[in-house]
């Protein structure tokens, strides 16, 4: 009878049975007895739907998005068909952007901290203030530092800088204000390893652009091609193409655990963490001994007879190198002994698999070896990266069709004012002190501590705490959250207690919890902002965000916040920002450059840029074909380039060639010897260097990002959380992947709560058995464990991997070795 009673209270049943009106009078379910079927049978709104162009903000890729807005409410996001990256498509994160706009945890306007104490458990007790008040507080502080000759103690730390109208303004700000710490990017906590490895070998310190559409073999070392590699959306578009084209592109994927990328590949190899370089060297060894290298790019023995034999040296005079440098030394001093059998002992990959991969890679053209943090977020990351990249030289994929290039920048017009005209005496003096080395950056980048790194953000917390080289006074954050994301992040929690923090995020975060002033940015659907592409296919792209709606709250786009602060700085700096005026003015001047160089899509001014959301100009200008470099002459790759032109524009190394012996590293031979114990005369050779694993545990600890990791915000987006780790069923948490044998040895059952411990401390997680994870490794996606990021993020297990990740960096690239810590695991 209970069932019947339940049914009878359901109004729709009543409605359908025709008894609705009678029973309605009796009061059962009255709440919704109105004739809903009529009132709901059409669009809820009669308003027109407007589509605006924007750019997704949830990874760096710059996918153009169409934002659907009706009656001032955004209700849909799809990929823009006219975006050359999105092509009408999106990745799983892209659709969730509406949450970012309507996130109920957003900051609603500028605020000031009233609780002077800082810490995890200290409520900042923010109180709302006006923009005028907030900007004046900041300006007074900055003017004070300048007056005391301490302007270097103000730093701006940024994460995902987008373009010339935001992060692009920071360099000038630092120059005019007078601080070496404006601005410090996050790249050393991102993926500098691959950039530096490429810079040291082919002279381009950059991520690559890739011609995936035409590649026939992909050898992937630890890049989450179908999860986290960017541009993820485009990579999946390419995947659909290369896996169904003729011939089908063959894929080998190397990682430390099974994941979507290697599950979809033709061959999955599970390698010991940090040893990818050994495998790459063995592949190179096989390519040379079996005569599979690209003779038109690399060159050949003068008599055409292959003298590469395992263990035997060659005479360099016998070999005519074309676009490579140092092959004789590389072979004789390193590669001749790097056999697959040698690599098996280091990598645990069976020698026969290494030989098979080498033969496939060496005989299929075009082929590319790609890599990212998997091999490079280790103490030996740059060495691993150089060894992998050398494979691209051996098969001639640099600047080739189906190969890899470097990204061209957009044809932006000049800004209305020149910063050089607004330098006062103080700014000039600081520039001199920076140039002379007297005034280092707080992270010591560019000093003899980190001579080759691009940034060293992870050192800022510890350096400030130690007062070495000095103490910071004020820090402003733009789109990053290092108090949480830095390795050994608890040090930052201590270090930032006595720093005046200016936060510009629209959202709460751990870094914002330390803020003294909140100057909230618009979310991306409210912004006017440019974003030139991340390395894509080489030809230049500049995307533009236009607001879909008026700002929901009292927020200000970061570029304008910066300009408004600049206007309040005493002296000529203030005048510069008065003249610059605002970011829209900046963008209008940038777009003037398109008049002389109209886009392939017809964009030639600010208005057409806004309408299309993107300016791009095809084609890429250079191509290497059969060992000859050509430049685009307007109709085709017809103009043959001289070696000096190649050196100037493409292979920008000391030798003008791809360097198996890095000239730049040789210039730092003493540093290499000091840090790695490598004799100075071997410093430049691409070679095997064993990784170091601090942490004190017995299991490698890998903390990858999943496909749902929306930059900086995934942990507070309900739909992201519920889809975060599909392979392991992580829909409320993310599970620690552990091999069943490894777990059983420790008395751990699948599903148990476990403690993961390193010398820094411990975190808790739930584990699940996974046969796809190496028995000597545990894998925990980096996502949860937030303590100040919003209602969905806070308190969600597992604990934050960064708290037990030792702050150890690759001594060359400076990349934080996120995957190098060893941990122990036990039942909690």
């Amino acid at each position: 009878m209970n069932v019947l009673e339940t049914l009878i209270t359901r109004r729709r049943f009543l409605q359908a049975s025709g008894a609705a009106s009678a029973l309605a009078a009796g009061g059962i379910g009255l709440r919704r007895l109105n004739p809903i079927s009529e009132s709901k049978a059409q669009r809820l709104s009669s308003g027109e739907t407007v589509v605006t162009k924007n750019v997704c903000h949830q990874c760096p890729a710059r996918c153009g998005i169409d934002v659907y807005t009706t009656d001032g409410r955004v209700h849909g996001i799809y990929g823009s068909m006219n975006s050359p990256i999105a092509n009408g498509k999106l990745c799983p994160k892209g659709h969730l952007g509406t949450y970012i706009l309507y996130d109920p945890d957003r900051y609603k306007g500028p605020m000031r901290r009233t609780n002077p104490n800082k810490g995890r458990d200290e409520d900042p007790q923010f109180e709302a203030i006006s923009w005028e008040e907030a900007l004046d507080i900041v300006a007074e502080r900055l003017n004070g530092l300048r007056a005391n000759n301490e302007s270097h103690r103000f730093g701006i730390l940024y994460g995902r800088g987008w373009g010339a109208s935001c992060a692009g303004l920071l360099g000038t700000f630092g120059q005019l204000y007078g601080s070496p710490n404006i601005a410090i990017g996050h790249s050393s906590m991102c993926s500098d390893g691959s950039m530096v490895a490429k810079g040291l070998t082919d002279g381009n310190e950059s991520y690559n652009a890739y011609d995936y559409k035409n590649v026939n073999y992909l050898l992937n070392f630890g890049a989450g091609f179908l999860e986290a590699f960017r541009p993820y959306n485009y990579l999946m578009q390419v995947w659909g193409h290369i896996r169904t084209k003729s011939p089908k592109t063959r894929v080998t994927a190397i990682d430390v655990h099974a994941n979507a990328t290697n599950a979809a590949a033709d061959r999955k190899l599970l390698i010991r963490p940090g040893t990818d370089g050994a495998m790459a060297l063995a592949i190179a060894h096989v390519i040379l001994t079996e005569g599979l290298w690209d003779k038109e790019f690399v060159g050949d023995f003068r008599d055409g007879r292959n003298r590469f034999e395992s263990g035997a040296t060659i005479d360099g005079d016998d070999f005519n190198q074309r676009w490579v440098h140092g092959l004789e030394t590389w072979w004789n001093e390193e590669l001749k002994d790097r056999t697959p059998a040698w690599a098996e002992k280091i990598t645990s990959i069976p020698a026969r698999h290494i030989s098979e991969v080498a033969r496939e890679f060496g005989t299929t053209r075009p082929a590319m070896a790609i890599f990212e943090r998997g091999p490079t977020a280790h103490s030996n990351g740059t060495w691993n990266g150089m060894a992998i990249h050398a494979l691209n030289a051996l098969v001639g994929s640099l600047f080739a069709e189906g190969g890899m290039f470097y990204q061209m920048g957009p044809s932006y017009g000049p800004l209305p004012v020149s910063a050089g005209d607004y330098m006062d005496e103080h700014a000039g003096r600081v520039q001199e002190r920076i140039a002379s080395g007297e005034l280092p950056r707080i992270d010591m980048k560019g000093t003899n501590r980190w001579p080759l790194a691009r940034n060293m953000m992870q050192e800022i917390g510890p350096n400030h705490l130690a007062g070495e080289p000095y103490k910071l006074d004020t820090v402003m954050f733009y789109l990053n959250n290092p108090i949480w994301t830095a390795p050994d992040s608890k040090v930052w929690e201590e270090a930032f207690k006595d720093i005046f923090v200016i936060e510009t995020s629209p959202f709460p975060s751990e870094s914002a919890k330390y803020a003294d002033i909140i100057l909230p940015d618009h979310t991306y659907l409210e912004r006017l902002q440019d974003a030139p592409t991340y390395p894509f296919e080489g030809w230049p792209i500049a995307t533009l965000r236009t607001p879909a709606v008026e700002p929901l709250y009292d927020t200000k786009v970061f570029g304008d916040t910066l300009i408004e602060i600049g206007k309040r700085i005493d002296g000529p700096m203030g005048e510069y920002y008065q003249a610059l005026d605002n970011t829209e003015n900046v963008l209008r001047h940038l777009a003037e450059g398109f008049r002389d160089d109209p886009g392939t899509n017809g964009v030639n001014d600010f208005e057409s840029w806004k309408r299309e959301g993107v300016w791009y100009r095809k084609p890429y200008h250079w191509r290497q074909r059969r060992g000859v470099f050509y430049e685009w002459d307007g109709e085709g790759y017809n103009r043959r380039m001289s070696p000096s032109e190649v050196r100037e524009k493409l292979l920008r190394t000391p030798s003008g060639r791809f360097e198996f012996v890095s000239g730049k590293l040789e210039q730092h031979a003493d540093y290499v010897e000091q840090e790695f114990g490598i004799p100075a005369e071997r410093a430049g050779i691409i070679q095997w260097v064993a990784p170091e694993h601090p942490g004190g545990g017995d299991l490698y600890f890998s903390t990858p990002k999943t496909a749902m990791h929306a930059e900086g915000r995934g942990a507070n987006i309900p739909h992201s959380i519920s889809l975060m780790q599909p392979v392991m069923g992580g829909r409320r948490t993310v599970y620690l992947e552990i091999h069943p044998e490894t777990a059983r040895e420790r008395g751990i059952r699948s599903g148990d709560r476990v403690r993961i411990r390193s010398e820094l401390g411990e975190i808790e997680a739930y584990c699940r058995y996974f046969e796809g994870t190496r028995p000597d490794t545990v894998v925990l996606p980096m996502e949860h464990g937030h303590w100040a990021q919003g209602r969905w993020a806070e308190g969600r297990k597992p604990g934050h991997s960064g708290e037990i990740t030792v702050n150890r960096s690759d001594r060359i690239s400076g990349l934080a070795s996120y995957y190098t810590t060893k941990v122990s695991v036990e039942r909690a």
Partner: protein
Amino acid sequence: MPKWGMVIDLDKCTGCQACTTACAMENNTLPGESWQDVLFYHEGKYPNTSIKWFPRPCMQCENPSCVHVCPTRATYKTDDGVVLIDWNKCIGCKYCMIACPYGVRFYADERPLLEPDIRQAFPGSDGQMWSPPFQNPESDWSKGIGIQPRGVVSKCTFCYHKISKAPAGVTDLDEDDPDLVEYVPACVRTCAPKARYFGDLDNPESKVNELIANKRGTRVFEHTGNKPQVYYLGEHGTVPKFDPQFDDQA
């Protein structure tokens, strides 16, 4: 009148779940209540472990068991081949959920799959279970489109609010065609590797029929006689057996 059907090429599918989120935002489903889910399985012992995934929309069966068991005829088959629910008639008895062999019907009134409950962040108004500011303005309770009231079952509609407006006589709704893109179901439209195709199964000239013929399209659980209108191509199209170790203990 077309008979709409979908083809999913599992050789191209990357398991990214963009279909799931596109559907979730287009149809305003609750976190975890995924009308268009992707199921993941793994098999084998280290180092030879395979991971498979299986995107699963409503199969829109020709012979839908859910329709047969519905006591109030709330769930029904349209002339153009789509299984819909009339929320004005649904009593939430869940018989259809038991009858469905594919697990693609949802009753979202119980404890939320993800807490805190998003319905408390965006409380329902006008009879809806919840009312987020980003709600799709398209709503038609007689077809199960929009945000449901409490106490009803919901399911994939093939984005009926889109496909039902497609120009007459179209054989395939191809998202790469600017004139048709707005009529394409969200999951098909966004699929980056183009693993999904949507078209008229009754038209022998359609792309979907071409793919089914050339790539040996199969349907899941043919033995039930439900005759799904969703076809799968490629190697990943097997559903591994249930593994009790993956009972959620967290």
